[in-house]
């Protein structure tokens, strides 16, 4: 993917993020995503039925990378079962940390494939993934 298109996808997910809303719903598991080195502050809300992530949304304030990454992640995980989601997360993290990964299951999340070049923004891209893992562990 060319850099221009990657940037466009990120900006689009930042300006019009998927399922970014402030609401109070029952039956959703909440997890806060933040990291020590930056000021991102995202809350993730996930509804799991049986083994399936049936719905998810987020709110909070965060930078373009964190926000877009959260938006893209939510698009990719809704409707999937836990095993599929775990596999997806592992692949995403492998991409960020420069290990072998399977492009084909990452969808738009592939736009972060060069984020490793900016050390300080790796944590931005992985912020929602760290949060979703905690939610899955809670389950």
């Amino acid at each position: 993917m060319n850099p221009e298109l990657k940037r466009e996808i990120m900006i689009d997910n930042y300006s019009n993020p998927f399922h970014k809303e402030t609401k109070d719903e029952e039956d959703y598991i909440k997890e806060n995503g933040n990291n020590v080195s930056c000021i991102d502050d995202v809350n993730l809300y996930v509804k799991i039925e049986e083994d399936i992530i049936v719905d998810a949304y987020f709110d909070g304030e965060a930078c373009a990378i964190s926000t877009s990454s959260t938006s893209i992640m939510l698009k990719n995980i809704i409707g999937k079962n836990i095993t599929q989601v775990k596999n997806y997360i592992t692949n995403f993290q492998n991409m960020i940390y420069e290990k072998d990964y399977d492009k084909n299951i990452l969808g738009d999340a592939i736009v972060y494939d060069e984020i490793y070049k900016q050390e300080s923004r790796k944590t931005c891209a992985t912020l929602p993934y760290t949060a979703i893992l905690k939610i899955i562990d809670k389950k």
Binding site: I39, E61, C63
Partner: protein
């Protein structure tokens, strides 16, 4: 201006985060290297010449700092920085004094270091934290302070200049008012002592804390100033070598005089000596000159920023070289990342003043904090980079 004195400026860098820390001039760096290279001995062991020289240099640094703030020599205690200094007086002095129901006046724009130690003390003693009101510019006024003083007020602890709003508090007048009501005044000088002339005799503060690294000195060294009669009652929180006169097997301890009593253990010798060199350096430039220059530079920055429609300044009325602003629709950290691509260093975030957002509604900002070595050309470069909002969005990731 003075830029050739700073090795950091050999890099192509625009440094606008002086509220966090400042660059060090060669005279400070050389002084530290000189200590480690030429008389690297411990203090208080003057049996041989290089150790004697350590004592002379260490106490010389103290003398310079005392003169710099117009204090007496035994009123200047070396600490690791402003944060430690506040903790020392909260736990070592006020812990003995504060009683249930007492009130401690702070403000919502204080740095965490001037908030959290007081929270702990208040929780422990059943005392109450009272916030002085901020006016529409987020400034503290004498009338505001008056309005929250009650017969139970025991302490007022405020930054002289705050690190986000950058307002200068009328410390002398606050001290007058406080002392007339038997209230102690603690001043956090971390953002003021580096930028303007400080005189503890004129202001009559009871305690003043500040850090060396925010004024061209090394990290890990700072000062606790206290009026002699108050410092005498500070309970040393750390015991050990260097602070005791003698002790015996009956567990009797005799402490040294001030200020050594409050400086247990091998001190940060290089830090103190380097700090002394920084003081010399600042004195040579002149604190009044620094204050005036920064004011002019700040006014220029504000004027230029106000011309940009997509920028909102949070504190255009600030009295210091601190300007906090936001670019419309762009998260502050993204702006900082963008500027970093052009080697411009600014800070994004809440700047450790986490309760301020409850008043401003603004959680995070971009903060520019100036020092005397910043230039009009640097401001021009910053403004040029901020002029085109689309460019920022395009390049921020």
């Amino acid at each position: 201006m003075n830029r050739e004195d700073f090795p950091m400026f050999k890099q192509d860098i625009i440094y606008l985060d002086n509220g966090a820390t400042t660059f060090k001039p060669s005279v400070v760096i050389d002084k530290i290297v000189d200590y480690y290279s030429n008389y690297s001995a411990n203090a208080h062991r003057g049996d041989y010449s290089i150790s004697y020289k350590v004592d002379v240099e260490y106490e010389n640094a103290r003398r310079k700092i005392a003169k710099f703030i117009n204090a007496n020599l035994d009123e200047v205690v070396f600490t690791s920085g402003a944060t430690e200094s506040i903790n020392i007086i909260v736990d070592g002095f006020f812990d003995n004094l504060v009683e249930p129901g007492d009130e401690i006046i702070l403000s919502k724009s204080e740095h965490a270091s001037n908030v959290l130690p007081w929270f702990r003390l208040a929780n422990k003693k059943g005392a109450r934290i009272v916030y002085a009101p901020l006016d529409t510019h987020l400034h503290i006024t004498l009338e505001g302070i008056k309005s929250v003083i009650t017969p139970k007020t025991k302490i007022i602890s405020l930054a002289e200049i705050t690190n986000v709003v950058g307002d200068l508090r009328p410390i002398k007048e606050i001290c007058e008012l406080a002392h007339a009501n038997d209230i102690f005044v603690v001043v956090d000088g971390a953002q003021s002592v580096p930028h303007k002339k400080t005189d503890v005799k004129i202001s009559d503060v009871d305690f003043l804390v500040f850090s060396g690294h925010k004024m061209c000195g090394p990290t890990g060294i700072g000062v606790l100033y206290g009026k002699k009669e108050l410092l005498e009652s500070v309970n040393p929180l750390i015991l050990g070598g260097g602070m005791n006169e003698s002790f015996d097997s009956e567990q009797e301890i005799f402490l040294k005089e001030l200020p050594q009593r409050l400086e247990a253990g091998t001190p940060n010798i290089a830090g103190a000596i380097g700090f002394g060199a920084a003081i010399d350096y600042l004195e040579k430039i002149g604190m009044d000159y620094i204050a005036i220059y920064e004011q002019k530079l700040k006014a220029y920055l504000v004027e230029r920023l106000m011309q940009l429609e997509h920028i909102t300044i949070i504190n255009e009325e600030s009295d210091s070289g601190i300007v906090a602003f936001n670019v419309e629709d762009i998260f502050s950290q993204d702006v900082a990342y963008y500027l970093n691509k052009y080697n411009v260093c600014v800070r994004a975030g809440n700047h450790c003043a986490k309760i301020l957002k409850s008043i401003t509604g603004v959680k995070n900002t971009i903060r520019v904090s100036l020092y005397f070595y910043n230039t009009y050309e640097e401001i021009d470069s910053l403004i040029e980079l901020l002029t085109d909002k689309d460019k920022i969005i395009k390049e921020m990731i």
